[in-house]
């Protein structure tokens, strides 16, 4: 009941935001702009999927932005070396998943706090991307790869389609499977999960690997969209992803959160950015507004929880 209410709260916020922008700007509610918004949201929304799993398990992943850069340049260099598209995509995904897995192993076997190990990975993956490319972007790809960002199936751009598939599968993973249930249990009470026979180490490692994987999916879209893989791409994206999850009602204390919430959270951030651009709000003011939204969302969440208990 309270879960449902909270989700409706964020959904209502999104709808109100849209209605207001529709009143204020004649350009907002056009089909081309709406497609535009969703497309702009896709990268952050996909990173936020893995982030949601991590936060639900009572962890944090600060390395997602750097993993985006790292798996992006791996993917790009494979493409430039003439590897077939599926192989290059697989290499990019593997790179992201591997970074995430290392995070997971450091946390479970190395017993490092998630904050520390992913902070380290943030720097290592970024540095690796810079070393690998010698700081230079890798650009210029074949049309079949760029289709992943510029193509359309029906009226839907491919990135939106990819985001939809990622969300559908991940939602099922989180809400219907053993893996998802263990994610909640580990976040809610790791000790109890362990004593109930959950292989906490294995599952935690998998959760961080999954987060690396979704970052790599986002890297594919980002690289195709800019027709370039930059070693400095994804700078500070971890904060946007955390914000999306938190606006969507995921508790940083763990054990709570849904992907529908995260999707709405990511859309709120995307719509807000888009709307502020359409309205010609200065970039400084935009930061204040976006920051206020994040704080307000969490404040509302805390108020609701306090009232529920």
């Amino acid at each position: 009941m309270s879960h449902l209410g909270r989700r409706f709260g964020t959904l209502l916020g999104l709808v109100l935001l849209c209605v207001t922008l529709w009143i204020l700007s004649p350009y907002f509610l056009t089909p081309s702009n709406l497609v535009n918004v969703v497309q702009q949201t896709a990268v952050n929304a996909i990173i936020a999927v893995g982030m949601t799993f991590v936060i639900v398990s009572a962890g944090i992943d600060l390395s997602v932005g750097s993993i985006v850069a790292f798996s992006g340049v791996i993917l790009a260099s494979c493409l430039q070396a003439g590897a077939p598209l599926p192989l290059a995509l697989l290499a990019g995904l593997a790179a992201g998943g591997a970074c995430g897995l290392v995070n997971g192993l450091l946390i479970t076997w190395g017993r490092l706090p998630p904050f520390i190990s992913t902070l380290g990975m943030m720097s290592v993956a970024r540095g690796a991307a810079l070393v690998y490319t010698q700081g230079r972007p890798i650009s210029g790809f074949e049309a079949d790869f760029r289709f992943l960002a510029t193509g359309e199936l029906g009226f839907l751009p491919v990135p939106v389609l990819i985001m939809g598939v990622v969300y559908l599968l991940s939602h099922l993973l989180l809400s219907r499977t053993r893996f998802g249930r263990y994610t909640y249990a580990i976040g809610g009470n790791e000790e109890a999960a362990q004593l109930s026979g959950v292989s906490v180490r294995f599952h935690k490692s998998m959760i961080y690997a999954f987060s690396g994987l979704t970052s790599a999916v986002a890297a594919i879209i980002l690289t195709a969209r800019l027709n370039s893989a930059q070693p400095i791409a994804g700078f500070m994206y971890e904060l946007d992803a955390i914000a999306a999850a938190v606006i969507g009602g995921t508790s940083l204390l763990g054990g709570e959160g849904t992907l529908t919430g995260t999707l709405i959270g990511a859309l709120i951030m995307g719509v807000l950015r888009n709307g502020l651009n359409l309205l010609g709000v200065s970039s400084f003011l935009q930061q204040i507004v976006i920051g206020s939204v994040i704080i307000t969302a969490v404040l509302v969440d805390a108020l609701l929880k306090r009232r529920a208990s």
Partner: protein, 315 residues
Amino acid sequence: MKRRDIWLTLLALALGAAGCHRGEPADSGKPRVALVLKTLNNPFFIEMQRGAREAADRLGVDLVVQAAERELDVEKQMQIIENLIQTRVDALCVTPSGSKEIIPAILKANRAGIPVLILDTKVDASAEQEGARFDTFIGSDNYQGGRLAGQFILEQLGGKAKVAILEGIPGHETGDNRLRGFRDAIAGAPGVEIVASQPANWERDQGFNVFQNILEAHPEVDTLFACSDLMALGALEAIAAAGRTGEIRIIGFDALAEARQAIAEGTMLASIAQFSDEMGRLAVENALRRIRGEEIPSSIPVRIELITKEQVDTR
């Protein structure tokens, strides 16, 4: 119900903010020109904005200025351009955050039939193959600027120097060209040696840190070429902190007001002046000509000069 109240309050806040800064409606009859900068926390671009704003006021142009929060955020710049295309501006002036990464955004503007004027940073040559068209490039020749700095060392400083270089973000056309120009100018000069060359990513605090480290590793350094004044000013502080003010000759780039003052005081030796306010002015003027259907040249050079104590004092 309380929840909704809070959301409403929030929206009111956002809209209040938006309301104050809202652009004019599209059908005011004035031509609308968008200026997309790399960032607005760098004096170089603030000057550019000022020049553009003055020209816009003079010519009756409705000017929209937008910038990403971070200079290197190519994705956010792309989003801004996409969103501006949605508002159907009449012309788009852009300082590309990435010379290759800007190409998909130019393509989108082309598709929407909006003229594109590129400022300051050149677009990669591959744009042509991709079919991306832009109307003009307005900027100074950074390579030439780098050469000016190199020649200054050879001619004015007796051709003897142990040089440290602070680079911009690797892979950026602007910084790469300045660096190349500088290196080409001093190549083959027997007395000039580059002992260290490190990126400080255009930032003042990184300029401080990186140069502090260079000083530790290479105390013999006597000359610094920084690819931007911000990094030079950061390095200046590092030199002061090391108690070596005045011992190291600093040549910067951009001739910011603060750098000019340092040159006047003698703590900095020279800087290469780019006239970013002039770029802004030329951008708005040429955008207007283009909107009116006039021809504009495909490349509009902006002057570039070496500034030393002499020039600063005579102003």
